[in-house]
């Protein structure tokens, strides 16, 4: 009897060993059950829509990629985590995603501060993180080009968009001379203002920078900031609080009569984001900003005017009942960049995938993105414009678009330092 049980056991084990791997693994040419993508973003507080949009973009991309057979036969799976816009949480999440969950790649991150804290940790974890929102130039200029951290790849345009494009547009407005900022009281706000000043001074030595006030994360009352800069009678204001904070700031500026004053222009960095446009829609409809509100974004849903972008918008609206903001498009595109790089390198290993990125040119909904190896950025054009209503869309859009070639407003290596202080 005992002998019979023993033979049966051996036969059972042999059968298990001889059975082919599960169908998914058999199909996957990379030898893994599934390709895991760790996704992070701010999913709480006034900035929560960005994390949500990152998640929506990533989800839609993997649904489409998986429906078309995955990457080299391997299915994709994502895990989204809220980094709460806190550096410590972002780092903790990254460690968990790689070490415990087993992420092959990571995508997302909204805050510059979180990104800068994660950078050195990525080198230690040996996993690529595709940054799809965090905007400080230092991420790619200092950590990639300077320190050689190859695990950092940037898919979204950095503060060049917020600062240099503003200078390129307003250098040609001679009546605007006195500038003030209501800045985000952290890295993003400081570098945007410093880079803007540096660029504008080159073209307009007569420009004056008359006031700079700073508002930290979770500011609920911008009234003192608005009144403090208005006391200096600027011609224009550059504002960097974003998301819900941008909506609050604009509304509080409106009721202080800023747009009825001598102010000629208000440059709202990232004001072209869907959540901000939704938040100020009723004011734009009533022309409360009097055509003085300018904004930019890292992708705008009404540009480029291509069939691919229109189709992406349609699919996104059908899937989520909202328009995509830039963190959705950049994250969606990052997933397709991963797909292209893995297919080219036929590997999930970090050095091989980085090799696979070299020379890549890829068409995304936001247009053509070209990989620049020196600082590992995907370079692409995004226009800025005036916030206007368009009957084709339920919310305001950017109109009167000013389109610059990316090569004209991206900084180029070797990079000169820009202060990241007030």
């Amino acid at each position: 009897m005992k002998k019979g049980v023993g033979i049966l056991s051996v036969l059972f084990v042999l059968t298990l060993l001889l059975l082919p791997a599960s169908p998914a693994e058999a199909q996957c040419q990379l030898g893994v059950p599934v390709i895991k993508i760790g996704v992070q973003g701010a999913a709480s507080g006034p900035h929560a829509d960005y994390g949500r949009q990152i998640e929506m973009g990533a989800t839609m991309a993997i649904e489409e990629i998986n429906a078309a057979g995955g990457i080299l036969g391997c299915k994709l799976e994502i895990k989204f985590m809220d980094d709460e816009n806190k550096a410590a949480t972002g780092v903790k999440n990254a460690r968990y995603l790689v070490a415990e969950w087993g992420a092959h790649f990571m995508v997302g991150t909204d805050s510059s501060g979180v990104a800068m804290a994660m950078g050195p940790v990525l080198a230690e974890l040996k996993r690529i993180h595709f940054f799809t929102h965090a905007a400080t130039h230092r991420l790619t200029e200092e950590l990639v080009a300077g320190k050689g951290i190859k695990e950092i790849v940037r898919v979204s345009v950095p503060v060049y968009q917020d600062a240099i494009v503003a200078a390129l547009i307003f250098k040609d407005r001679p009546e605007i001379k006195r500038w003030a900022t209501i800045g985000a009281d952290y890295e993003y706000g400081y570098v945007t203002w410093n880079l803007f000043k540096e660029t504008l001074r080159k073209y307009r030595p007569d420009a004056e920078f008359v006031a700079a006030v700073w508002a930290p994360f979770l500011t609920l009352d911008f009234s003192p900031h608005v009144s403090a800069v208005m006391a200096q009678k600027p011609d224009a204001i550059l504002a960097t609080p974003w998301a819900g904070e941008a909506v609050m700031l604009l509304r509080q500026a409106l009721i202080q009569g800023v747009f009825d004053s001598q102010i000629q222009a208000w440059w709202q960095a990232m004001g072209g984001s869907v959540d901000v446009l939704e938040g100020i829609a009723s004011e734009v409809q009533r022309d409360r900003f009097k055509g003085k509100l300018w904004a930019t974004a890292r992708y705008i849903h009404n540009w480029p005017d291509t069939p691919e972008n229109k189709a992406f918008n349609e699919r996104f609206r059908k899937r989520w009942a909202r328009l995509p903001n830039y963190s959705a498009e950049t994250t969606y595109s990052a997933l397709f960049i991963i797909k292209a790089a893995v297919e080219k390198s036929r590997s999930l290993e970090t050095p091989k995938v980085i090799e696979g990125l070299k020379g890549m040119q890829i068409n995304n909904p936001g247009g053509l993105r070209v990989f620049r190896a020196e600082d590992q950025q995907f370079i692409y054009n995004v226009p800025a414009g005036r916030v206007v209503m368009d009957p084709k869309y339920p919310i305001p859009v950017l109109g009167d678009l000013k389109v610059f070639a990316a090569k004209d407003y991206y900084r180029h290596p070797p990079f000169t330092p820009v202060a990241a202080t007030k």
């Binding site: 009234s223 003192p224 009144s227 403090a228 006391a231 909506v247 009721i255 202080q256």
Partner: protein, 294 residues
């Protein structure tokens, strides 16, 4: 040249002071509830900011989503948060009055997490902001600048609440009972005061003050998960400066913090944030019990 500029400059200073006053009134409303609850129940309610947030969300729902008049939406949000306060006090806090203070911290911190997640589930993570009620839109010409009607409204509500609280605690029977309970709960109990009922009443009342602070700002401040955390730190600073449990202290400290931080933004924008903490540090060094505590 300087003299020619002086009138403008003086106007700007006066205007910034008015803006600071409106900020101070928001701070006053939230810190008043916090300090009343501490004064009577001896509970440091870390979840007070979450009650502020709940007030804002309920006001948004009643006013922004259901289209009720703004004043009615505020009233309903006060009632809703008052009810929530009642559940918190009767169901949970009551059980920890006699034990170590660390349990207060754990329990009220737990409420922060629960309420933050609850609003995400109910209203989603994306911020909300309704339209400004037409009667509060616009600005008045004050000191040569446009002063928002909305900020004037907030100042009026803050002052009215201050007068109302003074009258309530100094001139009414309930106020005397509450003060007696705060002063010596055993003695109050001995002379026939229903102390548990007073505790519930005070907690509900304090919760409603937090809700008023949240509801009042709904059309000019966004409503989002986490806004309570932003407020609670400032509210604690104010109650520490004014003296824990001291209502007059909370009012004066709100004025100090609101107005000085507005001037800090005007004159020292680089150090403005540091200013509030510096005031608190100086008060703690010179008068650790707070400005008005006995």
């Amino acid at each position: 040249m300087l003299i020619a500029e002086l009138p403008d400059f003086m106007d700007d200073i006066a205007f910034q002071g008015l803006i600071g006053l409106s900020m101070a009134m928001y701070l006053w409303l939230i810190s008043a509830g916090l300090t009343i609850i501490f004064g009577v129940l001896r509970i440091i309610n870390f979840a007070h900011g979450s009650l502020f947030m709940m007030g804002a969300y309920l006001a948004f729902t009643f006013y922004g989503q259901l289209g009720l008049p703004f004043w009615l939406a505020i009233l309903l949000s006060l009632l809703g948060v008052g009810l929530l306060g009642l559940v918190m006090e009767r169901g949970f806090l009551r059980r920890i009055y006699g034990i170590d203070e660390a349990y207060q911290l754990l329990l009220t911190f737990g409420f922060i997490l629960i309420l933050d997640d609850a609003v995400k589930i109910i209203w989603g993570g994306v911020f909300k902001i309704p339209a400004i009620p037409p009667f509060l839109d616009g600005a008045w010409r004050v000191f040569g600048r446009s002063f928002p009607v909305y900020n004037a409204f907030v100042i009026a509500v803050g002052v009215a609440v201050a007068v109302g609280l003074w009258a309530l605690f100094e001139k009414t029977w309930w106020g005397r009972i509450v003060r007696a309970t705060a002063s010596d709960r055993e003695m109050a109990n001995a002379i026939g005061v229903n102390v548990p009922r007073v505790f519930s009443g005070v907690f509900v009342f304090g919760s409603m003050l937090a809700a008023l602070g949240g509801a009042l700002g709904t059309p000019v401040r966004v409503v989002a998960p986490g806004i309570g955390a932003a407020m609670i730190i400032q509210a604690f600073i104010i109650t520490v400066i004014g003296g824990l449990g001291n209502l007059k202290g909370a009012f004066v400290a709100s004025l100090i913090v609101g107005i000085l931080s507005a001037y800090g933004t005007l004159f020292f924008p680089v150090f403005e944030l540091f200013l509030i903490f510096a005031i608190m540090a100086v008060v703690l060094l010179l008068r650790p019990q707070g400005l008005f505590a006995r």
